[in-house]
Symmetry: none
Subunit: 154 residues, 2 copies
DNA sequence: CACTATCCCCCACATCTCCCCACAATGTAC
DNA sequence: GTACATTGTGGGGAGATGTGGGGGATAGTG
């Protein structure tokens, strides 16, 4: 499974449709059948999973105990802001309005390939988190995450 | 079996009827034949199971020890407020009045896809539990589910 | 038996979604 | 440069969906 990478800016029309970047489509597995699941991200952006990768997430969810309060709370709040999407014949996604509100996306959306998933940002929110992250602290983060011998990982 | 997901708000008419969300219907297995079981939830909401998934719940219940007081109490109180429902020709559910009372649903019902079942909430009750869930704990929950590299799974 | 309440079917209709067509912009081959 | 394919953007319209109300069949009550 190759990683999604790169950043692509597209306009959103007044029906909430946005073209899916052609270069990202080349990374989507044919198994996914141009079907996706989109949901609220932890940051003020949206997460987009091709179907085959989303199924791995569901597999994890299905292992959570449904007869505990905490388990039910996890499942409810995770799934309630998720929706299935497909590409139309022009390779566009129709963003649900509640997710556009959440992410403050209106006329422009920025796709960011982020490994196993794709993130979709509004320009404003993206600029804001960029400004909060100085180059120095990015260096620090990088070292914290990548530090040590990568090959020893797990 | 795909998970139920998403949140949908519908109005309840003065006959207690409410449209079953079309997107959720796409997730219901044809095996279920548009037949459901509805019952009191453990939270102040209603649980709605398509027939095929309800049968899995019954299977679980049947494994509970019937000769212990606790076991009998659980079974009795779980099942006593359960009813069978079907969709009418306009894909609506007729909510039993005792369940509308319990869940405090009157003119508006919110459907939440929660994995193997569907929850039905009144706006007021839902807002209350939302307020009790801080963003931090949502982050924690999220990381429990999504944490780790998905590709390493299994 | 009459009366009433409830259920469920049908019809009507406003709204929304999605599919299709058109075309502009961009990239590529010759 | 020109022709052609791919990609990005916009809009119109058919069909699906959500909502309300009327009315007939059925069952429960006095």
């Amino acid at each position: 499974m190759p990683s999604f990478k790169g950043q692509y800016e597209h306009s959103v029309d007044n029906k909430g449709r946005v073209a899916f970047p052609a270069k990202l489509r080349k990374t989507v597995s044919p198994d996914a059948q141009d079907r996706f699941t989109i949901l609220r991200g932890l940051e003020p952006c949206l997460y987009l999973y091709p179907q085959d990768r989303w199924e791995l997430v569901e597999k994890k969810l299905s292992k959570i105990n449904n007869f505990s309060l905490k388990g039910r709370t996890v499942i409810r709040n995770f799934l309630r802001f998720a929706e299935d999407l497909s590409l139309d014949k022009q390779n566009r996604l129709s963003l649900p309005s509640h997710l556009m509100d959440f992410s403050e996306i209106d006329s422009t959306a920025i796709f960011i390939g982020a490994g196993e998933r794709i993130e979709i940002w509004s320009p404003g929110k993206l600029e804001k988190v960029d400004n909060e992250l100085s180059f120095e602290s990015y260096q620090d983060l990088f070292e914290q995450v990548m530090g040590g011998n990568i090959e020893e990982e797990e």
